[in-house]
Symmetry: C3
């Protein structure tokens, strides 16, 4: 069944973004995806435009980025994470199981709905990988700043077969 995740992405009409392109002056000294044996550690990813540049809207949820826009950013973040995995492991069918997802929302102090922001991330992972492989533990909290003023970043751990 090689290519089943890729087929599923196609069926859902989803296109993965290009590799992350950072703004001028921003350098990183880490790997987007680090593989250790069958464990895969995914750095904090944010939403990307199709060309790999950071995708707006930018700012705090919900005062600058309304809930619905933040949920769309969470979907784009899921696609960015899947793209990062594909680049690192070659074939997405190598993913045997998602383990943990950590969502960090660029939140206003009174915003208690980070769970709702992250649900579209989780839903997309479940849609693409299927419920048995895609299901994961998750934590969703609101933080005071996120790199590049993105509305959220998500880190994760997955396992390869």
């Amino acid at each position: 069944m090689a290519g089943s995740v890729a087929t599923r992405l196609n069926e859902l009409g989803l296109t993965l973004p290009a590799s992350p392109k950072l703004p001028p002056g921003v350098t990183i000294s880490f790997e987007w995806v680090r593989i250790r044996g069958n464990r895969v550690f995914v750095s904090g990813h944010g939403p990307l435009a199709p060309d790999g540049t950071p995708a707006g809207p930018f700012g705090k949820v919900p005062s600058e980025v309304p809930l619905e826009a933040a949920q769309e950013s969470a979907r784009l973040t899921a696609l960015a994470v899947i793209a990062g995995l594909q680049e690192a492991i070659g074939d997405l069918d190598r993913v045997a199981g998602w383990a943990m997802v950590n969502g960090f929302v660029n939140a206003d102090p009174g915003f208690a709905q980070t769970t709702l922001v992250l649900n579209p991330f989780s839903d997309l992972i479940l849609d693409v990988f299927g419920p048995e492989i895609g299901v994961h533990a998750r934590t969703a909290i609101g933080v005071v700043t996120v790199p590049l003023n993105l509305p959220l970043v998500v880190s994760a751990e997955v396992e390869l077969s």
Copy 2:
């Protein structure tokens, strides 16, 4: 020695809460506890009332939830995590070792005592599982929002034998 953790809970007079019951309108698309081989990933849990509903007080520590109340919330959070583990793995004696605990406190900007909020969580885990199995690495930070405006949530990783 089957049942030794359950016996210890009894000796300490501790009762585990029912499974988490979310408020109307809040849905989740993740698992509270995800098992991958012998590794167990625990989603962010907050304090629960005996019936599984979120337990107050709610709000920021310490302006809305004083330190002592937040510490009691941390104890309830530990019981919620243990209850989640029991439901997922069946028998708490399968836990071979705690690995990592991440505490996220719903904190006022000037509150630098998140360590003290989390200590009762760790102490309860040590009491219930014993020092060799229960000991863990930990990080405790203050975040700007927590789901449902709970005073804290805690995620964790434990290992099964």
Copy 3:
């Protein structure tokens, strides 16, 4: 090649701090470094002075701790983590690979440069352990409070051979 990491520390002129010494009244109920099999979980560490006491400057980045000072704190935090690893595992050459680094910066709400704060942490790890072992996934976010009002804390996971 026993001692190669220690040799590299020497070559770079780096000295590891003493074990963490907490201020009066602050107790902890966790381990700084928890080993489970070949996996090593590193608790949130902050910058330490040579004697193991928390190293200033303290406060929020950048209003109380300018970017450059926070970057120096990140370097001291890397040394604190390496010192903690050495104490826990005895010989730093046992580290087979870094896996994940989580950086939590004590940030002002408008500060979107947590990536730049953490880079010197990652750079030092890469310098000391070399690019193949030292490379890691990373997440860097801004949080509202950090224990002891330190400018940042970092947790990590590494693997032993």
